[in-house]
Amino acid sequence: MDDLIREAVRIGLDGICLTDHNHVWRPETVDALRQKHGFLVLRGNEIITDQGDVIVFGLERDIQGITRLEDLRAEVLQAGGFMIAAHPFRGFLTFGVDKLGLTPEKAMQRKIFQYVDGVEILNGKVNEEENRFAGQVAQGLGLVLTGGSDAHEVEEVGRYATRLASPVRNEQDLIEALKKGQTAPVAFRRGRNDARTGVHP
């Protein structure tokens, strides 16, 4: 984790979110990392639902196994949290969109988009076409747009990021910024010239 944070600092990120699968980081552990590196580290959680992976902020409960999307939504609403559909079209090009007849309009009807607040439209683990398709769907539905590296290795940190309009000091600030929808997913790591390039206004 120290290496990951050092790398995030090195490439110029202002903060990172730890969103391990079905794992809740202890606040004191993350606080210690924050203090040690003088760097913003925030906690999230990527939860496996029956409709796909969902990144959640603001939920303290350690959820294990597969959760029904409706149940997760109810819990997150109660907690005042925020839900993001993670890489919603990962792997859908296995068959080719043309063969499935999947259009952004049809995809907008998917259940998952009725239960999330935002959509990850730049994910470091899917290809550009899958990201582009997610962007079309999210924009069509007017959902909040985010980007994330989905980094599992140090060198993957910052490939994509989310630029926020207001300063964020803690998880509550992050949730409020997300709820305002003032976000811009960015391709961060391509180079300094691209570092400030948001793909959406």
Binding site: I48, D50, G91, A107
Partner: protein, 172 residues
Amino acid sequence: MPFPHLLSYSRTRTTSVERPEPDTLRAACRLQDNLMEAEVEITVRLPDLDITAVQSRVLRDERGLCPGGLEGLENAVGVRIGPGMAKIIKGLVGDDFPCPQLVFMVEECCHGVILYFTKDELRAVPEDEDEAREHFARMIRKNIRLYNRCAAFAPGSSITEGIDPPSPHTQS
């Protein structure tokens, strides 16, 4: 019986997919071995590939692990066929489901649906060897999760030459 100490065992498992309507696929898996005979059928809606129905029938069960009327498989209804489906289906059906063979057959049906679409892709492979290799390489580049999914797509194969392997977690 000349060799009573020898065990005789055979298994046949087949999966078939049909498309009764333009927006519907039906996949059926049939299993027959010395201990069990069963059928599982799933119905899948296009274009989202979500499972709309699951039916199962156990015709013979020598071990008594799969009694009729088992509940749990229907929890797979609503799951979308694609990456992560096996984990989701197992999780929804539950670890305590007494007949893992039926769960496996649901997954087989899902794989059958995937292969239904892959078939056309494979038919489009050029006959020329070099062009065929490039065709497969393009398939992998387009969907990096295919990397190392079979011997032909394994590291060191001529098809994967020049293709960077995905991060170990890409395929999770």
